[in-house]
Subunit: 161 residues, 2 copies
Amino acid sequence: MSARKAASDAAPGTISDTVLRQFVGYNMKRAYINVSADMSATLEPFGLKIMTFSALAIVLENPDLTQTQLGGALGIERSGVVVLVDELEEADLIARNRVAGNRRSYALRATVKGQALWKKVEARVRLHEARLLANLTDDDKESLRAMLHGLGSTEGSSDEK
Amino acid sequence: MSARKAASDAAPGTISDTVLRQFVGYNMKRAYINVSADMSATLEPFGLKIMTFSALAIVLENPDLTQTQLGGALGIERSGVVVLVDELEEADLIARNRVAGNRRSYALRATVKGQALWKKVEARVRLHEARLLANLTDDDKESLRAMLHGLGSTEGSSDEK
DNA sequence: TATTGTTATACTCTATAACTATA
DNA sequence: TATAGTTATAGAGTATAACAATA
């Protein structure tokens, strides 16, 4: 017999992915699938999804911003913002306030209920991330966060020299 | 005046996301959006997508594996594997070979064309990742890759104590 | 004319469930 | 009965394009 395993009758777990695991992108995709699933499960009891959670955070930090600005901050289109804001408004977590002198846009602001919910959710998410990253030192966690932040900013380094 | 800016008439770029950026998960999502867009653009000239690229890699590394095994390695359902394998077979990059003694499953194997394409694509993707991570030291790149690998394995640390 | 919010639509990715042909 | 592959379908998430109201 050769050293090559007969993959077709081997157990599922014996399949290797050494080549793919050399790429940062592949590891990032697999990591994000796990992290986002955990995050979704954490938010679900609060009636939030990843994007409504994110939108709520931006609105709290930037009171009276417009929907277009919210979309810019979240990196999504205006049409997508409508859905998020609808959902948050429906849950009475943020309000579409009219702004004097400009009837085209809204001034988005978190409600008292939205502020209260945020405090609870934020604490819960922090706890959850701490568990998720329990294997890492504090330095490693901060290093990971910072490197991802660098990769997640506006530029994509696509082709510009 | 106070330190609070009037967000509603500020330029779009002035919206802050300091709170969200504290979370690893948010940075990972934003990073993955950028990285995957870059990756897709890199693969497109080769007629590959992220998942067909990944599937090709797994098949090359595990000749004669089954579709179910491929799905296990990629973390997707069997029904999704069919689409990927259809696409790779259509492009003559892998073949669904019959296996003696079991007419239920296929033995997947890369074609000569698939092997040749892989060499070119792999080199191109490596180059691309190097550019994407150009701001990081070699140690940082490896550290990032390893931490993501740790987060992207089977366990999700959801609720088990 | 340009901008803000909105709606309708479509596309990508993936899971679920039901089916077939084998075992 | 159980398994491998397949098919149909549905859902989530998001983008594109066209539109109305307003600037």
